[in-house]
Symmetry: C2
Amino acid sequence: RARIVAVVNQKGGVGKTTTTVNLGTALAAAGRRVLIIDSDPQGNASTSFGIDYTQRSDGTYALLLAQGTLPRPRTTMVPDLSILPADSELAGAEIELVTENRREFRLRDGLQALGVNDAYDVILVDCPPSLNLLTLNSLVAADEVFVPLQCEFFALEGLSQLLRTVDRVKARLNQGLTINGIVLTMYDRRNNLSDLVAADARAFFKHLVYDTVIPRNVRVSEAPSHGKPVLLYDYRSPGAQAYLKLAQEFLKRSRAT
Amino acid sequence: RARIVAVVNQKGGVGKTTTTVNLGTALAAAGRRVLIIDSDPQGNASTSFGIDYTQRSDGTYALLLAQGTLPRPRTTMVPDLSILPADSELAGAEIELVTENRREFRLRDGLQALGVNDAYDVILVDCPPSLNLLTLNSLVAADEVFVPLQCEFFALEGLSQLLRTVDRVKARLNQGLTINGIVLTMYDRRNNLSDLVAADARAFFKHLVYDTVIPRNVRVSEAPSHGKPVLLYDYRSPGAQAYLKLAQEFLKRSRAT
Ligand SMILES: Nc1ncnc2c1ncn2[C@@H]1O[C@H](COP(=O)(O)OP(=O)(O)OP(=O)(O)O)[C@@H](O)[C@H]1O
Ligand SMILES: Nc1ncnc2c1ncn2[C@@H]1O[C@H](COP(=O)(O)OP(=O)(O)OP(=O)(O)O)[C@@H](O)[C@H]1O
Ligand SMILES: [Mg+2]
Ligand SMILES: [Mg+2]
């Protein structure tokens, strides 16, 4: 059975897309069959795999609004990693879903209809920076929540709001939902603030915080402009190496539970 | 008459809050009477002025959902700068507004009812990272749009989606809406990517891009944890000095038009 993991944080710019793309690629490198769902209307995950704007129709919007035939995930330049891109209509999905039947369950129902359980080992859903219906759909479809936490003051502040929302979803819409963990991103050892935030997060959230820390590394932010995950753009970079370690820890932790 | 400026960009983490707070403070230092509206449920602008969670009721949510008496803006430690904080219920406003009458005009109507035109010279509205009803309300209430653009690849990508939305709002809901300008944020001269993005933005958007560039400066990201704008936290820092220059250019440009 595929594990469905929602990569979520309503704080903007914390590394949700970067983590979805590069953790996904590292898991594929470790032999897992991976599907990425781009459920952010910005479509940054789709861009990260070099998917041209003209190739994005029949994506997540088509799955959520279930129009006619089911969309097919696309293969990418990464072996064993496919993606359901964010179609341009996804920006309108939020308002359209409000009046739809089972509006919170559209992604869960869609993934079931796609029959993804046999085809993939891990499904990562990249969420927009907001606790809206698109994110709600991901939380209802997911088995686990994975939270990138930027080593900045504001990022820590938003976490309790996020965890309260996860609790509410678990209580009302998805009893099986668990928190996989929290990964510290854009850690800059030259900057005191990074250490303070990391220490605070570990003190508060304890074992939920991954040992692996993703450093701020310019090669990571360059990679999307080349349409490639950082593992393909610059394998030896500190960022790529950190995501390989993150994948190892992700797999180790899931064996432990 | 007060100028109402929406600080908008659906890309997350690009410096919307930081720009609202620090441009606002610098404008107040230049003798303008400033009101900041925190219309992001994360409440980061409210935090940046040290407003405790217990002091945030009767804020933007109360203004939008017009319940009983009108909320009063609060004074801050910055002379001539007041803020309408983000109340905790603001997270629910999005869904509640969908079924309200004149749902896109609630902020415009609310600001008129508050009688802000005589009390302030500039009103800055900090928006959430999404083109949702809260942001739409800001675009309908605003005279001008001010766009922080992070010097990163993804940030440039989202800009055309934002400008299309502004055009649509102008055509249908707010004929007077104009684009004040675009300010480059978190510019890091050690990083090629910053130069590439800056060059691209200037080539494409020409005079809309401010001459003043906000450098990446750790003092800027430390200031909110002390509940102060960076001008009060570390006046001589490169970040604070850049925001003072930005305010000068902001005022100069408005005289020119
Ligand atoms: N480890 C890193 N080192 C350097 N830059 C990074 C790193 N991780 C992410 N970035 C850059 O920081 C910016 C924000 O990251 P990203 O877009 O992945 O965040 P996000 O949470 O998905 O944003 P949004 O909230 O808009 O969806 C991007 O420009 C990205 O390239
Ligand atoms: N010039 C700067 N130098 C260093 N750090 C900065 C600078 N500007 C902003 N930051 C930091 O970058 C992060 C993102 O900035 P900010 O929160 O203002 O962006 P935002 O667009 O308001 O985010 P959101 O989309 O979540 O509302 C914050 O942690 C902030 O402190
Ligand atoms: Mg993203
Ligand atoms: Mg903000």
